[in-house]
């Protein structure tokens, strides 16, 4: 075995001086290169920057603090990431057809993306028909959910629901499971859009209830899941929204950890839960941009900081509380409309950053996502990309293969410092809830989005086919767009109307009244009342309307 490196290394200083002379002679005036988070990137990294002498403090081994190298001992060599493609289009039948094909193609988890009308809290019979089913599936009732999941074994496949507060899709899913005799204890999956703070500041798609109501219902939902659906992850803190909204990678990680601190504080101090009861349920969801090394460092640093927060700030003792479990989605912001097949190359690099960053599940964007809702062909390529990276490129053979790189370790430390500075800024502003309420976070995102766009405009940041390497007549290679057929949507609306007519009206009324009472009481679990309402036959739109009336619907804080 080799002896540990001893510094100074014989000949190191002279070799470095010679290199610097040669480098400067050839390059002339060197430009300053900065990554998206604003960290200066040097032309070379050596043991001067990172010498491994703090290996145990900074890295250690996977599965143990500080988790820089991964949260599990085996990482992808044991179990690769869950390939979870976002799917949602048209009617429940359309969705069902699509998921069966995706499962057959190798997807190991499902995700359900509802129609934007669902995100806004409406049923199909109260919306402009032009928009229905164009961006997601129209699912409003237990009947709709049952048809979405026909032929899917709910006890065996994990389901991620894009389901913001008040979590009606989960309620519908639980009732479907009941009807099929599938015990709730066997249901696994994630409430993918439970992070109302990121919705409020960055991705308003999912923002329904006003801030105080959203805060209350999230905590109720988490408590319900802890008690009754042990295999469910009720909380996914969404850094993806922050980065898509404009945050730099370091800012996105910092704001996300600050959000998690807020939720943990609300549960531990506000509701009196033991840290080790709630923290193992925390999951995260991040954007993976094409800034390859920066993204890898972002994830490695994020793991290290989260375990420190869990242990030092919250006093968690159970290692499950310290693990930073995350889903990654390759970034749509980096994709281009020009020469769209190039997006396959972009998504591949992004996916590699996610894999080397140690993620637990992934969605790879389809190359045509910048043109329309992904087509089936493009979605299959996104799955194949992951299969190729795993099976042919063997990216999963070695755990944290970039660990020990002078550059990656230095960058991980520098990103860590940047991220910590963001957390300190939010702490100083009174925590994430307060910082969102006052518009501080929105201003940060707006400034960073504009700064990045300025770099694209000036050509400092080059985008192939957009501000560099443009080709005349590189007309968009148009994918076949499937907009849902109008007749299918008319039938879907008619079906919902019939569903509403056929149910037990008195029971539905009672359950919705019960939901209103729960919202106004301080002790009832609002999410429990949502499940009751779904079981009695109430629809998504009716449940949302009730809570809109009782808890106030949220509007966006417009920050110029």
């Amino acid at each position: 075995m080799a002896e540990p490196v001893q510094l100074p290394l014989p000949g190191f200083d002279q070799a470095r001086a010679r290199w610097r002379r040669d480098y400067e002679a050839q390059i002339g005036t060197d430009r300053v290169v900065r990554n998206r988070s604003g960290i200066e990137v040097k032309p070379i990294y050596t043991p001067d920057d990172w010498d491994g002498s703090r290996y145990m403090e900074e890295l250690g081994f996977p599965g143990a603090p500080p988790f820089t190298r991964g949260i599990y001992p085996t990482m992808h060599r044991g179990r690769t990431w869950t390939q979870r493609q976002l799917i949602g289009l048209g009617t429940p039948e359309d969705f069902n057809l699509r998921i069966r094909k995706i499962i057959a193609a190798g997807a190991t988890g499902l995700s359900l993306i509802p129609c934007n009308s669902v995100y806004r809290g409406y049923d199909v019979d109260e919306c402009p028909i032009e928009l229905l089913g164009t961006c997601g599936t129209t699912v409003n009732s237990v009947d709709d959910m049952d048809r979405c999941l026909e032929g899917v074994d709910l006890g065996r496949i994990s389901t991620a629901l894009n389901d913001p507060s008040p979590f009606t899709l989960l309620a519908l899913l639980l009732v479907v499971a009941e009807k099929r005799g599938v015990p709730w204890s066997s249901i696994t999956g994630t409430s993918n859009q439970s992070d109302y703070l990121s919705h409020f500041v960055a991705n308003h798609m999912f923002f329904r209830l006003a801030l105080p109501g959203a805060r209350r219902v999230l905590l109720d939902h988490i408590e319900f899941a802890l008690e009754k659906i042990p295999g469910w992850n009720p909380l996914s803190v969404v850094g993806q929204h922050m980065q898509q909204g404009g945050a730099t990678p370091a800012e996105a990680m910092g704001l996300t950890l600050s959000t998690a601190i807020q939720y943990a504080t609300d549960l531990i101090e506000g509701r009196g839960h033991a840290p080790d009861k709630v923290l193992p349920k925390f999951t995260f969801f991040f954007d993976i941009s094409i800034s390859f090394f920066e993204e890898v460092a972002k994830f490695r640093a994020g793991r290290r900081i989260w375990q420190r927060i869990a242990r030092e700030r919250f006093g968690a003792k159970d290692p499950r509380s310290w693990r930073f479990k995350f889903h990654g989605q390759t970034s749509g912001v980096d994709l281009t409309r020009q020469q769209p097949l190039n997006n396959i190359a972009r998504a591949t690099v992004q996916a590699m950053a996610g894999i080397f960053g140690g993620l637990q599940s992934m969605h790879v964007d389809a190359y045509d996502e910048v043109l329309s809702v992904p087509t089936e062909k493009a979605a299959k390529i996104a799955i194949a990309t992951q299969n190729i990276l795993r099976e042919e490129a063997h990216l999963t053979d070695v755990i944290d293969p970039l660990g020990g790189s002078y550059y990656v370790e230095t960058l991980t430390n520098e990103m860590e410092a940047k991220i910590e500075a963001v957390i300190a800024k939010i702490d100083a502003a009174g925590g994430m809830y307060r910082a969102c309420e006052t518009g501080l976070v929105q201003t940060m995102l707006g400034e960073s989005a504009l700064a990045f766009q300025e770099k694209v405009e000036s050509g400092e940041e080059k985008i192939v086919g957009v501000n560099a390497y443009r080709e005349e007549g590189d007309a968009v290679d148009v994918p076949a767009l499937d907009r849902p057929a109008r007749e299918a949507m008319e039938a879907q609306i008619a079906r919902l109307v019939r569903y509403k007519e056929a149910r037990d009206q008195a029971a539905t009324r009672r359950a919705l009244d019960g939901l209103a009472r729960a919202a106004n009481s301080t002790s009832d679990n609002v999410f429990g009342a949502v499940v009751e309402a779904a079981r009695a036959g109430a629809t998504h739109g009716e449940i949302c309307a009730t809570l809109r009336r009782e808890l106030g619907f949220g509007d966006v804080l417009v920050v110029p």
Partner: protein, 140 residues
Amino acid sequence: MTERPPKILVTKIGFDGHDRGSRIVAAYLRDAGMDVVYTGPWQQIPAVVKLALEEDIDVLGISSLATDHLLVPKLIEALREAGLGHIPVVVGGIVPPEEEPALRAAGVAAIFHPGASREEIVAEVGRLARLARAAVEGDV
């Protein structure tokens, strides 16, 4: 009399809430000296028409990331009914190529796709604003 700067309403109709694009474009137009009225997402068509009237805007900009551009023909119809048919409507965001003709036919004056430059957007919106104002003030 000094000429008042072009006044642009930047808004989002329908259900989508992604506002990174609309915020950036609003900042561009403002930096170019235009007077920008900016709203949050999810505006209803009647509310947009009312705002266009009250604010006496020169150009109406609709940002669409998801499929809200499909409502733009209805919006233009509502503007015409309110006597505001002279206001040019521009759309920025994700508009699939095969849906462009329907928007043009409905009267959309310009469509800015991802990758459109600041220069292009500012120049075109400025040009449309001058044309619109000239039309309103009569031939000078």
